[in-house]
């Protein structure tokens, strides 16, 4: 679990060098080939657009971020709840699992267009509903697997102790599913942010990062659009990092820190 300062440095240096190098090449290319701003703005131009519009970007980030967060929390809660029901009731599992897997393979965020019709134009509910749905499926599929795929030896052992189904659930299935939940969250956290942006493309208030990106592109404010993209990246990254930190904190003995099947 504990990493030496040297190994942290060793882990950080290569991507840092790569990132800085990439930005330098981008900047130089724009200057040398004289790209027009509507084609590709230089990183420096994007940065100054970001600095000038920090407050607007922050406002938009709060809107999209809150949508993503609400959807993430509700979707996770719902996914965990239903996966317990599936683990308990065989029939429900046989009905629900193929459906969930199939729906998970479809780009379901287009459903937001339908949700928009159900609510007032300025409502954020359709977007949150969309995020909830996306997160729900990711969490459901993973946690249900964690509850179900328990080693044969573990089950025989528990039966040899005459353990009840509830005891097996509490002492084997739930702890076994914890790493699966965090794997799901690591996928679902950035997905919730992306879904929140994309949901904004289908109408409603022009207040989030997604709609601001589209709006600025429509006005040929390319540097501003990229500045909002930068904000979107930071939001997605922060969601991912929070999921990662939660995983480290919540799994005892660093189980989550180790390689797992499906992780």
């Amino acid at each position: 679990m504990s990493r030496s300062p040297r190994s942290v440095v060793a882990a950080v240096i290569p991507p840092l060098v790569f990132g800085v190098g990439f930005l330098l090449i981008w900047e130089t290319a724009v200057k040398v080939f004289d790209f027009q701003p509507y084609f590709l703005p230089a990183p420096s131009a994007i940065w100054s657009a970001f600095r000038e519009n920090t407050e607007l970007i922050w406002e938009a980030t709060k809107v999209s971020g809150l949508n993503a967060f609400v959807g993430l929390v509700v979707g996770t809660a719902l996914g965990v709840l239903i996966s317990f029901a599936l683990a308990r009731f065989r029939l429900l599992n046989d009905v629900m699992t193929p459906l969930s897997v199939a729906l998970n393979a479809v780009p379901i965020f287009v459903l937001v267009a339908l949700f928009n019709n159900m609510y007032p134009v300025t409502s954020e509910v359709p977007r949150r509903l969309m995020v909830t749905l996306v997160v729900y499926f990711i969490v459901l599929v993973n946690v249900a697997r964690g509850l179900r795929e328990v080693g044969a030896t573990a089950l025989e052992l528990m039966h040899s102790y005459a353990a009840s189904d509830i005891a097996i659930l509490r002492k084997v299935r739930v702890p076994n599913a914890v790493p699966y939940l965090f794997t799901a969250l690591r996928i679902a956290a950035p997905a919730s942010v992306i879904t929140a942006f994309v949901s904004e493309y289908f109408g409603g208030s022009q207040n989030g990062l997604g709609s601001r990106i589209v709006g600025n592109i429509a006005l040929s404010n390319n540097a501003e659009a990229w500045a909002y993209v930068l904000g979107a990246c930071l939001l997605g990254l922060s969601f991912f990092l929070v999921a990662l930190v939660l995983e480290r904190v919540a799994t005892p003995g660093g189980v989550g820190a180790r390689e797992r099947v499906g992780a």
Binding site: G151, T153, A154, E156, L157, H159, S160, Y161, A162, A163, A167, K171, V172, P175, N176, V178, T251, P252, G253, G254, V255, R258
Partner: protein
């Protein structure tokens, strides 16, 4: 309670998928009585039903016919009373629990309070000589150490009977011999009856007071060999004449038993040029 047998198996048979096209008779006509304090090995080629027999004793499987008594009770009652501990080929420790918490598991299920659980679990780790690893996690331990924790867990509730299904099968030869010596020491210290499934002849002879030889298709007992090497077995025992004699005896008993999956006529074709 003199006269109560540790294990009594009468007219036992087990058929898997009974009545279906893929019906497999796994065991027929098994009779076996094990006295308290015995160390009995079940040996035979794979497919002879030795693991099945162990699971029937453990009541993890239900017999097709016949009955199994453990401590004079029906196997199911014995299981519900946690009258036996079990160890498997895989240690089967829970990754999310520390070593000492793994050992506490059967005591938790019995409803012991925390302090009593901890005291007993630490005693058991003392017994398997791993007290300093109590707070480690299973994946920080070697295979042999994990198996010792599994034995500590199986014995934590002080069951009168220990059922072991090839517990050292996945270990290397050196670790294996060490673990055998450790098991004999624990067997001597705890006065537990042991039923041990293996397919290693020297392992069966070295550990057991009695070796039960089984044949496949369907599984039945073909021979029972007493091993009177005395209680104080050590490294020298493995090099003693009496040990080799017993190994030969068990090997002869196993000879002529057709390994599962090899049909006699195929052997014929190979033999004739």
């Amino acid at each position: 309670m003199t006269g109560v047998k540790a294990v009594e198996v009468r007219g036992l048979s087990k058929v898997f998928n009974a009545g279906k096209p893929n019906e497999v008779p796994a065991l027929v006509d098994i009779d076996l009585v094990i006295e308290p304090g015995e160390f009995v090995s079940l040996i035979g080629p794979s497919g002879c039903g030795k693991s099945t027999q162990l699971r029937l004793i453990a009541n993890l499987l239900e017999p097709t016919t016949g009955e199994v008594l453990v401590n004079g009770k029906p196997a199911r009652t014995a299981r519900l009373d946690q009258d036996y501990g079990m160890a498997f080929q895989q240690a089967g420790l829970f990754d999310w629990r520390s070593v000492v918490k793994n050992v506490e598991l059967p005591l938790e299920l019995k409803g012991w309070d925390k302090a009593r659980r901890r005291t007993r679990a630490l005693e058991m780790l003392e017994l398997v000589k791993l007290p300093e690893f109590a707070e480690h996690f299973p994946w920080q331990l070697s295979g042999g150490m994990q198996q010792r924790v599994a034995i500590a867990r199986a014995l934590a509730a002080h069951p009168p009977l220990l059922l072991m299904d090839e517990p050292f099968g996945a270990l290397d030869e050196m670790t294996r011999e060490h673990m055998q010596a450790e098991l004999l020491r624990i067997f001597g210290e705890t006065a537990t009856t042991v039923v041990f499934v293996t397919h290693s002849i020297p392992e069966a002879v070295y550990l057991s007071t009695r070796v039960v030889v089984m044949s496949p298709r369907p599984g039945r007992i073909t021979d029972v060999i007493e091993v009177d090497l005395g209680p104080g077995r050590d490294v020298d025992t493995r090099e003693a004449d009496a040990f080799f004699k017993k190994v030969t005896e068990v090997r002869e008993a196993l000879r002529g038993i057709q390994p599962a999956g090899v049909e006699p006529d195929i052997v014929q074709v190979v033999d004739e040029p």
